[in-house]
Symmetry: C2
Subunit: 371 residues, 2 copies
Amino acid sequence: MVKKTWQMLTITALTLSLAACQQFKELPDPNESSDKVSNESTQQLSDDYYQAVVEDNNYEVNQTSGLTVGPTSQANTENLEEGLYQLAQGAFPTDEYLLKEGTAISEETANNWLGTKNDDNPEGLNPDGYNASSRDKFEPRYLNSIIEYDLMQEQDDGSMKLGGISIALAMNESDTFTSDDDSEESVEIKRDTQKAKGQEMAKEIVSRLRKQDKYKDVPIQVGIFANAPSDDVGGGTFISEAMASEGKNLDDWTEYKTDYIVFGVDDAPNEEDSEAFQTFQSDVEDLFPQLSGITGVGRYEDGDLEHIDVTINSQFDGYTETVALTQRTMDSAENLFNKNIAVDIEIISPEGTRAVLSRPAGADTFTSTIS
Amino acid sequence: MVKKTWQMLTITALTLSLAACQQFKELPDPNESSDKVSNESTQQLSDDYYQAVVEDNNYEVNQTSGLTVGPTSQANTENLEEGLYQLAQGAFPTDEYLLKEGTAISEETANNWLGTKNDDNPEGLNPDGYNASSRDKFEPRYLNSIIEYDLMQEQDDGSMKLGGISIALAMNESDTFTSDDDSEESVEIKRDTQKAKGQEMAKEIVSRLRKQDKYKDVPIQVGIFANAPSDDVGGGTFISEAMASEGKNLDDWTEYKTDYIVFGVDDAPNEEDSEAFQTFQSDVEDLFPQLSGITGVGRYEDGDLEHIDVTINSQFDGYTETVALTQRTMDSAENLFNKNIAVDIEIISPEGTRAVLSRPAGADTFTSTIS
């Protein structure tokens, strides 16, 4: 009669609202929208974020996001999108530009470009060798996905003008050769090849855009992103970036040495960081042995740890337990992680997110939200 | 070859860490731990929260949490735990007391008390009439669950002393009569009955605790919680509370008029609040028609809106889309919801929590975390 259930009958707001699932509305044609739009913008969260451009009271969803050649992982996708956002911030200051989902590369164009090049698809950027039936003529598809942001500038009359374009090319780390007898072989694409092929495609893309009047003189930034294998929890990174200034093509490439390290799984560039994370982990787990696990991903730039992303899985979601766990977590993180490292911590229970803790680089204290 | 997938192959930290799922450690016997414990406490998040007591470097999980008579909902459980925390705060200031999961009522004791009273279980607080085979002799089980917190005070020598006990009794809103031919009838328990039965059981519980030397003189607070039906997204509320001062039993009962209102489903005490939420909802949905739904639960005290809890379900989890959605949401919420109302907003995608926005009552601005 009396039942001990940690996970009880769940009637959450989620189930209700998912039931009322809404379909897509038809998106306006981006090529038609430049004259008659009513511009608006969202409030800026802080100088770290761009204001978003809203046209016709409708936020345009990115046309090419989610369009991929071969499988990728959520970690790749998240690093790709956040990384391009950061690259754009470096070239186009957030207080001078507003951000709009890319419109220069339509869904149809991206589909053609991501395809293999042949008579039916002369614009394909991936090699036709992918369709070869013999292994020695086979060539993997190097390009996995394209995303693009438009950087807009507000004019004195309130209208918006395109001030820059940021493009990311995500490169496959492998592709699959399927032989006539349906046996499959995974063909690795090395980091150097990802970079060389990506830079080649980037130049071709800029020259294609330059042929259109509206993009003839716009600064175009391109970043080359190397996907990590799908089972890599850390995800891929940007490896190279260049800017095509007004009317020009890409020239000087900047190389990036970003690494995502899963603590306890990958070797960290700095042994002390691994030890600090391990101490943090046992600090929290000693007190709460009923946790299902703590994972941490560190982002390194040129060998320096810049960001730690922690996920704590709790089997329980009692309120007092969550408060105590949040307190302990914050306490340990403040003691163990250097102030110049940004830290984000999420505490998750079977019922969903219980608490979010966050400390930007350079800040003294964490902010926390318990739900 | 080119696939459009909104939800891609998901390899998250979650799956990895769940695989490393850890079993419970044996919990120390709370009755044995009073002499030889090494006390510690977690850092305090703010004056709004109690510091948690940690003994033997092990946070004791609540023994009676999750122990229920008949089904309940996550919304009931959350309101029950947070509500008791708030009741305790009213009686035992957070800067004078530390909080410990309850030890006065063990799991075994709670099991006996939650059972029906008969020769095998003389301590049962629920009526034996539950087991009757005829409908006219049937009596529902009124008590669904018990939770308890210990409020501790730090002594000059660093040791901890029990300074107060807070107990919540969660009352069923219905129970099921099963006849001989296995047909089932749901029997409703009215609000007045919940209150009367709860107060009766509360007095019995205090007198049982008073018989033990260690609880003879401790202030004991008891709150009566009325569960809402399992399909009520808003969840139940505390309806009555009393304090048994040192050595005494409960006397003056305080009545609470808390209501949880699901906007768009329930009638709000104040029509303007419903309209404000509706405007907020369409403000956000107009701009992002691809959302799967926005739900809001308002907490009313004596007819006044004190807290709004919003869940926004997004089909997408693009970074730029999340930033734009967070900006719009914050903008609308700041414009539409009065500053004296606390607001918590969570943006969820198929991949998990994307953003958390929070504004305490009386604050001017929201804090936000985008993940």
